[in-house]
Symmetry: D2
Subunit: 290 residues, 4 copies
């Protein structure tokens, strides 16, 4: 709710709250916002029948600074044992991109970041190949490559990921067609803050060269799925999916190109929602507050 604007500077806050579902939460939260002199400009909530969890995302305008807003919310957060996040609307998320040789997803992320469509900062693109050095440089983003050829070099690569995350205060790791399976330990460490993209078909295809299989079966839709990275390959909570229509005249090569477009836009969409604090995890599922 907006009122006549007072003559002081307002901050625009985003708040996410997760707790066990009970009656009265909305009332308690809205009361806390009132006490912190905030107006709720956007509000979404969801009660999960599966897990009994309650999820809420608010955008709040207030002359209060972070300390005042936190103090206002603290009694409610404590009482309902909430997991809470308070952030500034539009603050760029510090994001590490992992890549291999394919440039389409990396390029789409960097282009949208530069065009102001993706609220992220990308201090580093890290790859196991040098292929994308020029592309990344074109956008003025640091690029580093470390080959992965065996268990030792893979461990070294992962150690570099861990370092880069710490050195750069990374909040999100994006696997932009990275094509490598992360070790269980790294998956664990990055749980809930690493996003992967892969192609998707109806029906699904197992094994190598799925686009060739999709062509052989004459599928009419091909698509992509962006999901959180977990120890189960390609099985983490789904954030976004898209498909596009194809027909019999498409060669396997054309299916690859079309699929790459879907991968790019699906990954960028998932990253955007994550950076805007719109993605909350409910067990094996995501809640997306668009």
């Amino acid at each position: 709710m907006t009122s006549n604007p007072p003559p002081v500077a307002h901050h625009h806050w985003v708040v996410t709250l997760v707790c066990a579902d009970r009656p009265g939460i909305v009332h308690a939260v809205s009361g806390a916002i009132v006490r912190a002199r905030g107006n709720i400009t956007e509000s979404q909530q969801f009660s999960s029948a599966d897990t009994g969890r309650f999820f809420m995302r608010l955008q709040v305008e207030s002359p209060a600074d972070r300390a005042e807003l936190e103090a206002g919310l603290a009694p409610v957060v404590d009482r309902y044992e909430m997991t809470s996040v308070i952030d500034v609307v539009g603050r760029p998320l510090r994001t590490l991109v992992l890549a291999s040789t394919a440039g389409h997803c990396v390029n789409d992320l960097l282009f949208r970041q530069r065009a102001g469509q993706l609220p992220v900062e990308i201090p580093l693109v890290l790859s196991n190949h040098g292929t994308l050095r020029d592309l990344v440089g074109f956008y003025g983003v640091p690029f580093e490559s470390l080959p992965i050829t065996d268990a030792a070099s893979k461990a070294a690569f992962e150690a570099r990921v861990v370092d880069a995350v710490e050195q750069n205060d990374i909040e999100l790791v994006v696997l932009a067609r990275f094509m490598q399976i992360l070790s269980p330990g790294l998956c664990e460490r990055l749980a809930g803050r690493a996003i992967n993209i892969h192609h998707s078909f109806l029906p699904g295809f197992k094994g190598a060269n799925p686009y060739r299989q999709a062509h052989a079966r004459g599928v009419k839709l091909i698509g992509a799925t962006a999901h959180f990275v977990t120890g189960d390959l390609d099985e983490g909570p789904i954030i976004e999916q898209n498909v596009v229509r194809v027909d019999h005249s498409r060669t396997p090569g054309e299916l690859v190109a079309i699929g790459q477009d879907e991968e790019s836009r699906t990954l960028s969409q998932a990253v955007k929602w994550f950076a805007e604090n719109r993605v909350l995890v409910d067990g094996a599922r995501t809640i997306i507050f668009k």
Copy 2:
């Protein structure tokens, strides 16, 4: 929010609230819901920067009956000078359909109603032609025709509309390709509860036979707009719009058929949202809480 269900029957209520925007409304409303032993299962809100109005739609589960819920909300409704509606989720809306000779929209409404996809009851279809008598009878709905040939017969038709509205406790009048302009008096009387459908093009075309004009210009999209009826023909607040892609190979006749499909589904969608209390009016605009 849902809690462990108490061992009493619950009602599922929908509540809409509209008032001047001020701080604290959400807090006050959620407090009233708590007092009426309600859990908010769905909540949407919007603050209009154009008119300074605040709009809210809630779904609430509660063991309270209507009197208790109304009593709980009354202090808030009074304090904020709210326009409020309390209804039972899923209650069929009593709907009068006005038709002419074209059957596509009438058929779609009746089919969806019968299939359980449209929460309306249709006690009468009223037409200025007898063309649709068999179609309407097929669905077991009463049908009445009254010719409109001059000013006197038009006035008689409109008088019959007014009677039918009163006799049948009509809450919504749907102009399903009725093709007649309602008199200013009847527009006024039905303000906010009459919905019309018309075809839409980019760019718009004035004058007769717009599908032929659309064909001549080779438009690539044709569509339909459902809107509230006002004194300004085809200019009331827009509820829903759809378009569909066409190409150069379509004849004017095919454009008409495609356009009719869009008209049917757009009108049915608008009626469904209205019947679900999802459509609120904000000056010349609508707020749609999907």
Copy 3:
């Protein structure tokens, strides 16, 4: 191509031709059409790099009757060893519908047939349950039920299918959520003229209650696939696929309802294209000349 219309009645023919791909086919075919006094009003072709087959669909206006058109095409059909079909544009296809208890696909087929949107005649709906008797009767279509409870009754049901196909000159068998696996012998007998529908997800789910699994994984798209029936369950050549976007707020029951809408429209679309001679089979794939 259209010319000044001669003062004789014209027929509108659809012709499909399939043969091994070689140079000169289009020239030979168009010459034969010229000899049969035909104008090609629509023409589509496809050369399959996978199988080396050439596919063509023509619509032809001509004063020639079927005998003259066949005679005109015969030398080309012989020379290129073509599989050819000559039919009248818009002729209703004689279609047998197999159903179980779910009514959504049956209702959609019957409604569209009646509305003139589906060029089929349906002389019989055959079911292993009596559930849909009233619905089918509502559309004036004969309905017959024969329970399937064991191997013997299943064999009897399939024998009735074979009889019904022969007695009614059936050209297409539609499994409208029939939920029974046809025996290999019946699959073989109906090869290329039986269409099935099933739900589809990204990723696919094995086992019972896929909508519940889809809910548990939080999929963002659900859909349906219409395909030819083969001995491999759910694995015949795909004719059409659709998906629709869902979000976290949908219950498993809502996913079922949404999925049923997709099944209905996808099956009806596949039947329509088949009835219009737009579906040709190329090994495990279909060519769809929309």
Copy 4:
């Protein structure tokens, strides 16, 4: 049609043919292609009932060079008085971009060109402002600005356009939100090879600030139209249109941003089809052979 490939290099040609519609054209054309040792790999045709014109687009693989292909087609082109174009599939079209201060369309064109998604070469971006100099330079494309402040400077700008077209063998001029009305003389000179983009709404809005009007009316769809430039502003043959769904929560500023995305992708799509010889003009309409 493809045959066993001969052991010589093949060219991939695109051929477009337009003439008065008469029987026998397809036969004559396919015969000429056979004589030029060509295999037709893609073929589309359309007979316009409005103008009596016949339109055809072929892709042909052949060991023949341009001279042999032209010679093979010449008798047919002469006999049917065809307008014919023979081009190499994938050849980049020499394209001049005219711009003003808005960068979204220019950026999209340059990005897609660079990403290999748009078969154009852009030797120059010409603007009446200097705003986009850095953006264009980022892609390594020459940029020139010439202010337009009065009739004389406008005439000078247009003279520079004419020079640039001649000096650079320009085949297409793209008005990428150029915001200036070309003089009738320049429209005439560039007829059929200049493409403009503008926003589109249902219903259409006249006058200034259409996004603000669209917001005030609460439209649910906003879009864009790409069309050929003619003397009638915003009224040339339409090449492509897109819309996107918006809702009541969008500010006028957000509508502008959304509309710009539609403008960008619609313009790029139109340019792509034009560059691929897929756009043919039929009076006030276009034939698009996708």
